[in-house]
């Protein structure tokens, strides 16, 4: 944190001196506020209603990354935020510019990612007249933002920006949108930036109730089969280290949810892997048999409970720690609710927690893992298996990389076969399940960490939803490893049609897509292709040795399914183990 603060202070110091009370335009104020908030990059796309803002940008210290689509911009801002924990910032124009942000806003909302989204709007005298490029974006985004603002008076703008950053980053983080009509961007007023935020109606509880923590500790002392379900809250709170210490001290296995994968080392003896629909056998068995389930910052999503919340963890007392009180009791009935920041909870519990009587239980989980580890059969035709492609990436990096994904089969294989350990090392759309998210998110992550290995893994379907952002990668020479797991179809849809719709493969064939290697070449990006394991290893080495951007197309077995699988509506004991059987 201290280096961040130092960076922000440096940035403030490098600003041209400005006296509070200096008269300036709304758009100048906006950029001034962003700099004062420590924003380094904004992602965006200009247009009519934001012309004043882009005019101010022309001579600003802010670095603006011009994407090729507003959706690319917001996913990049999201990737930046997830890679750093700092708020991502995106700017789009009114009407279509603003509506192109909607998928990205919903993606960030579902995964509690701090974003500040700035949209222009038509001038106020035109609002409500169906003016050119007018859309009621505050209305549209009401259910998918933590809060949103329509700025009516330029004098309110600095306060609103200050509040927006505060709301986006505190409590349960989330996207906040600020809609600025063009007359407000143009209007002038004296600039005063508030030092602090005064919001009487917003006070998230971060300090946990100590009595409830005592109850949790007591429950641990009585438990024989405790598990921790660690969710995205661990990452949002930056509580990775505390979780590791707590789990080791108490000898409690940690089951990271998909959103929590980077919250606990995937190679740790106490980590049986992800639970749920495509989770590991051991983790699902552990959830079925545990007598004490400690949920740290997860939200009992239906991909884990399978929507069968009554039968979920049927033998367990449930402890639920969440910063958002509305999550507690929303899906699963809770025995010990603890509202607060999960890091504070762990810090309070750490000095007092004692080793649980859990040796036999940990052994049992190891045995389940040995019985049915994640596995796949080698291809009879010698074709590359997608799981093998992920393993190759993992082996070559030792997990020291930031991996971004879309949604679908490749996402689940990444979750299964790439063992995460680094802080904020997986960036993926978990809640909304957004195709086309991973590649632009990788752009944001690479801007945030120019020296880290960033691997963008997509399917051939999702990649084509935002492949236009190759231009940004080429333009900024971002050294992203752009991986396409190409099975020439929409794999997860195909899997469901095979299993639940009698092989009636409806509209999943993508075999007539572009030649991805040539596409990369057209952008001046190196493109590589592999379709056997041997080729894959060689090509991946070459990709790793490539200094600049590189696109790697892994042509894989098209009929591969993701296992284990629990069909929707079934309970976790109805796992289908798939190929190994």
């Amino acid at each position: 944190m201290s280096t961040d603060t130092a960076m922000i202070e440096n940035q403030k110091a490098s600003l041209p001196p400005i006296e509070m009370g200096e008269v300036m335009t709304g758009s100048d104020m906006l950029l001034r506020c962003l700099l004062l908030e420590g924003v380094k990059y904004v992602f965006g796309y200009p247009g009519g209603a934001v012309l004043p803002i882009y005019d101010s940008l022309y001579s600003s210290h802010l670095k603006h990354i011009l994407t090729r689509h507003e959706q690319g911009a917001i996913h990049a801002a999201d990737g930046y935020a997830r890679a750093t924990g700092k708020p991502g910032v995106v700017i789009a124009t009114s009407g279509p510019g603003a509506t192109n942000l909607v998928t990205g806003i919903a993606t960030a909302y579902m995964d509690s990612v701090p974003l500040v989204c700035i949209t222009g709007n038509v001038a106020q005298h035109l609002i409500g007249t169906d003016a050119f490029q007018e859309a009621n974006i505050t209305g549209i985004t009401l259910p998918i933002t933590k809060h949103n603002y329509f700025v009516r008076d330029v004098k309110d703008l600095p306060r609103i920006v200050k509040e927006a950053f505060h709301i986006a980053t505190t409590g349960r983080p989330g996207p906040v949108l600020i809609d600025i009509p063009k007359d407000v961007s143009n209007a002038k007023a004296p600039f005063y930036y508030p030092e602090t935020v005064k919001l009487r109606t917003y006070n998230p509880t971060v300090k946990p109730n100590s009595l409830q923590i005592e109850r949790m500790l007591h429950a641990i002392s009585e438990a024989k089969k405790p598990v921790i379900l660690a969710g995205g809250g661990i990452i949002a709170a930056g509580a990775e280290k505390e979780l590791l210490e707590f789990a080791e001290k108490a000898n409690i296995p940690v089951i990271p949810t998909f959103m929590g994968l980077a919250g606990f080392p995937g190679t740790h003896r106490l980590c049986p892997g992800m639970p749920g629909m495509h989770g590991s056998y051991a983790s699902n068995m552990a959830l079925l048999n545990t007598d004490l389930l400690i949920n740290l910052g997860a939200r009992f999503d239906d991909r884990i409970t399978m929507g069968r919340t009554k039968e979920f963890a049927p033998n367990a007392k449930i402890v639920h720690v969440d910063i958002d009180p509305a999550e507690i009791g929303k899906n699963v009935e809770t025995y010990i609710p603890i509202v607060g920041d999960v890091k504070n909870v762990l810090l309070a519990a750490l000095p007092k927690v004692e080793r649980a009587d859990s040796d036999a239980w940990v052994e049992q989980i190891h045995a389940w893992n040995a019985q049915h580890p994640y596995s796949y059969k080698p291809s009879p035709t010698g074709m590359l298996k997608p799981q093998r492609a992920i393993e190759i990436m993992y082996e070559s990096t030792g997990g020291d990389a930031i991996v971004t994904t879309d949604v679908g089969q490749h996402q689940m294989w990444v979750a299964q076969f790439f063992k995460f350990s680094g802080q904020r090392s997986i960036i993926s759309s978990g809640g909304l399940g957004t195709m086309g998210f991973g590649f632009p998110a990788a752009i944001g992550a690479q801007f945030a960490h120019p020296n880290k290995t960033v691997i963008s893994v997509s399917g051939d379907g999702g990649f084509q939803m935002n492949q236009q952002e190759l231009a940004v990668v080429a333009n900024h020479n971002l050294p992203i490893k752009i991986v396409i797991i190409n099975n020439k179809c929409l794999g997860m849809v195909r899997q469901w049609q095979e299993l639940f719709y009698e092989h009636r493969y409806s509209q999943i064939d993508l075999s007539t897509s572009v030649d991805f290697v040539k596409l990369a070449d057209a952008y001046g990006i190196k493109g590589l292709r592999a379709s056997t394991e041997e080729e894959a290893e060689r090509v991946w080495q070459e990709a790793m040795n490539t200094k600049g951007p590189v696109l790697v197309e892994f042509v894989v077995e098209p009929e591969e399914n993701v296992y284990p699988m629990v069909a929707a509506g079934n309970t976790l004991d109805q796992m289908v183990l798939g190929d190994e059987e």
Binding site: T138, L142, P143, P325
Partner: protein, 165 residues
Amino acid sequence: MEQKHTISILVNDQPGVLTRVASLMGQRGFNIDSITVGQSEEPGLSRMIIVTRGDEKTIEQIMKQFHKLIDVLKVQHLSSGPMVARELALIKVGTTAATRSEINGIIEPFRANIVDVGVSSLVIEVTGSSEKVDALIDLLTPYGIKELSRTGITAISRGAILAKA
């Protein structure tokens, strides 16, 4: 068990607050029986009274979700304690010279007032619990109700219980 609940929420008097509350109800699949909004005891804050249905768990979730709205200061489950709940109805009833005095007799025990007299209709104003308003409407129905306008419930806790900011 599904029951009627009355919830009071104190909100910033800001444009769009009613939309935020109503949108949240829709988004989360909660029913609204009625919603009223007006000034509260403090300038800058409005009070909304929402009548909804659901079991205990649903109501708890509704209240928590209201609390998450940035413009919401306080959420109180009024119907979990002693409260006074009232609504106002304006009822336009068809009349003839013959029925006018009859109607007068009907409304008297309800302490309702006639607030407009037309050639062939009367407008009756009644205030009270929803049950009282329902009862009067039932009695007036045979005469032909031409228009009906109800405000929905507004409510307040009894005695010293405070839902103040």
